[in-house]
């Protein structure tokens, strides 16, 4: 990184650190939130402060004066639960073999992603289960987590999806509408936790701008906070460039 680039990076991180309190408390605008989310992996101080604020918020919620709810509330909640019990699938759905590296799993990943897209299914702060109609396409839908990584550029149609099993170190990524790269370049997937960015795989896209990637991390995928895809030299990088294509919170 050149001196100018280091200076620019430091200024960007100063701006993000300035915003991180607002971001943690839901006070930033959509543009500001996007800016923080895109720059956070490159700003360990801001990431550390965000983690502090999240822990502080947990403490603030726990520390309110404790009031005993009315005894009848428990009965009402249990009755409502009994009336809305969700049916449990008796037989497990067919499993997709994630370790099969032939085109079969690529097509399966594409099918999952297409169904996700047609349902316009967005990730929220709280992980949500996949819709019931996808249950037959994935391994034991109760155990799958997934996240959408939207484009850094709001005018871009590029998007990526990450899926993983809680506690598992393997994951699957599907990308679509990614721009073609110049010769000597590659896309690289990063997972971020506590300001540390870990490369987990690289890929190139086909003529339609799509790709699927199976990856493994050294720690459970679900333990990471963010995922990013950047453009890197073909030989790969040990640290992400600033050329972020998509990124988002896991």
């Amino acid at each position: 990184m050149t001196e100018l680039n280091r200076h620019d990076a430091a200024s960007n991180c100063d701006a993000i650190t300035e915003l991180v309190a607002d971001y943690a408390f839901g006070l930033t605008s959509a543009d500001e939130s996007r800016l923080v989310e895109s720059r956070l992996p490159a700003c360990p101080e801001a990431a550390s402060q965000l983690a502090d604020f999240r822990r502080l918020q947990d403490e603030m919620r726990l520390s309110v004066p404790q009031i005993e709810p009315p005894a009848a509330l428990a009965d009402r909640i249990m009755a409502a639960a009994a009336a809305t019990a969700v049916s449990v699938t008796a037989a497990p759905p067919p499993r997709i073999t994630l370790l099969n590296a032939n085109r079969g799993w690529l097509a399966a990943a594409a099918a999952i992603a297409l169904l996700l897209l047609t349902n316009i299914y967005w990730l929220t702060r709280v992980s949500e289960p996949l819709p019931d109609q996808l249950a037959t396409f994935v391994v034991n839908s109760e155990d799958i987590r997934w996240a959408k990584l939207p484009a850094e550029d709001e005018n871009s149609a590029a998007a990526a999806f990450i899926m993983w099993n809680p506690g598992g170190t393997d994951g699957m990524m599907y990308a679509e509408n990614f721009p073609s790269l110049e010769a000597g370049q590659i896309y690289q997937l990063w997972l971020t936790k506590d300001g540390v960015r870990t490369p987990v795989g690289s890929f190139s896209v086909n003529e339609e701008g799509a790709a699927a990637l199976l990856f493994s991390a050294e720690q459970p995928v679900g333990s990471f906070a963010w995922a990013w895809i950047t453009v890197e030299p073909e030989s790969g990088s040990t640290q992400p460039s600033d050329n972020i294509v998509t990124g988002g919170e896991l």
């Binding site: 300035e18 309190a21 607002d22 943690a24 408390f25 839901g26 006070l27 402060q49 502090d52 604020f53 502080l56 918020q57 947990d58 403490e59 603030m60 919620r61 726990l62 520390s63 309110v64 004066p65 404790q66 009031i67 005993e68 709810p69 009315p70 509330l73 428990a74 009402r76 909640i77 249990m78 409502a80 639960a81 009994a82 809305t84 019990a85 969700v86 449990v88 702060r125 709280v126 992980s127 949500e128 289960p129 109760e142 987590r145 809680p166 506690g167 459970p220 679900g222 333990s223």
Partner: protein, 186 residues
Amino acid sequence: MQPVFNDQDVMRRIMAQDQQAFHALYNEFGRAVYSLAYRVLHNAQLAEEVTQDTFLKVWQRKAQWDPNKGKLINWLLAIAHFTAIDQLRKENRQPNLHPESIEEIEYIVPPDPNSAAWQDGMALHMMISRLSEDQARLIELAFYQGLSHSEIVKVTHIPLGTVKTRLRRGLQRMRELWLDSVRNKS
């Protein structure tokens, strides 16, 4: 002897629609959820509704806990908090003209000065008392009431720039005080 509450075991059983496990979840955390809901809404009936909504979201698998992301209680309280703020926004369209004060509530749990929870709560209240009155009020509005900057301006009649600066400084100061208290405890 009461069985030990195991977060992961209980949640796994709830995902399998075990009603006994769901009851155990409510027994363990119902008070904390209700108390937070009441803190936001200052209304017992609305707090009950939010508590019910929170637990039913878990039961109906509209929300799933990931143990890698944090403790079950914190996840549950976050759901309760957002649900309560949503309810508050609905109520603000038809404002509650007779909010209850906590003194009117009959079921306040007497604090246990020996409990870690009570001590942590006291430490947090002491931190807030070390902020300026304006900063503490702004944090109350932003966090517990879920107001945006512009909504805070409407309520307080403080200019937007001043709200942003005071709130940001208050939050950073609170963070510093909290980090100091965490270091002193360890």
